[in-house]
Symmetry: C2
Subunit: 216 residues, 2 copies
């Protein structure tokens, strides 16, 4: 998926990618706050190299966030021709994907760092996470929603509002509970069931025709 380098997006050398992988592992596995020394040791590189490549600790954190964001890119769903079944499937798939992402150790650790320094640091880590997480998500789903509307399957005045409602329906309290350290086990079956329920409820709220609950 090497389509285009957006402005502000830097491509990392293979060795740099290795270092960032190591930093990510350190962030996830080592419960401690991330220190430059720990990253250097785990990556088997020198601190001097870290500073040369990433300037300072904030730069390293920013690089980690961007690096991870570049990998999480889910394939954009192309609207295509939609009937009720395929729209439902798209919604379910989308919700399940997102639940899997926010339940991953990596996402939790990254969000923790971004939240922990939000409001304090000079570097808007939180903004980067939001841009590549929540907002990228919205941009991905909106075409699907609008295609569904064009097909007469659902209706809403604003796709942004419709998306936020869908977000609430599948995310619910999961993310905040995970971030606060609760050990929720999100088994694949649980995720699938939650995604199905969210899609069904969304269609109930926004369906152009009264949608009857399917069995199952």
């Amino acid at each position: 998926m090497e389509t285009e380098a957006a402005p502000g997006e830097r491509v990392f050398s293979p060795r740099q990618a290795e270092v960032l992988e190591a930093a990510l592992r350190e962030l996830v596995e080592g419960g401690r706050p991330l220190t430059m020394g720990a990253v250097a040791k785990r990556a088997a590189c020198s601190k001097e190299t870290l500073y040369k490549w990433f300037d300072d600790r904030d730069g390293l954190l920013t690089a980690i966030v961007r690096f991870q964001a570049a990998r999480v890119q889910v394939a954009a769903v192309e609207p295509g021709r939609l009937d009720l079944a395929s729209l439902t499937a798209r919604l379910e798939e989308f919700a399940a994907n997102w639940l899997r992402v926010i339940a991953s150790e990596t996402s939790i650790a990254l969000n923790r760092v971004a939240i922990g320094q939000a409001g304090g640091g000079a570097v808007p880590l939180g903004a980067i996470v939001l841009e590549n997480g929540r907002f990228a998500l919205g941009r991905r789903l909106k075409p699907v929603l609008e295609a569904g509307r064009a097909a007469g399957l659902i209706d809403f005045p604003e796709s942004e509002e419709a998306f936020r409602t869908f977000f609430g329906l599948f995310a619910r309290d999961v993310q905040i509970r995970l971030l606060l350290g609760e050990r929720l086990d999100l088994a694949p079956d649980t995720i699938r069931a939650d995604a199905r329920r969210a899609a069904r409820q969304f269609l109930t709220l926004y369906g152009a025709q009264p949608s009857t609950g399917m069995p199952g």
Copy 2:
């Protein structure tokens, strides 16, 4: 200080409450990470006193969280006799209250600290926040939901699941965006409108009878 108190709940002396207020202000207003020195200076007390009263930094943080939690206690709603109008009003009021809480600077700062040390520290700050936030919330609302079910206004198999859906409907992406540092302006009108929408959507999903949207 042999004062017998409720299990896990300690009562603070007036002076201690002052100090905790100051600590809370420092946490909210000073963008920096909370240091013992900053708290002592703002509270006009000595560090030695801080350590005597709260043992160490974790103890101080825990005390701050408990102190704030003890103040936020919203009045428990008593189910009483419910018709559709009063149930709707209860839900709207509940959602609006919660939105006001999570949008407050204090709640954001406290959640940031709890999240920042979740998974790392020995003291489960996150668990305390969850217990006094999300879970206390559920305990407050469930009687209302069950009274609504008893009155035949709504129906659901599990009040926990119904509550989580309602939570998703009013919280949506607000909390995560605030925690990540986005400046959302939640004007009173916005909050009221969001609460109304969430209550209406919840009744649409769980209403025993098809509820028609009200004008306005």
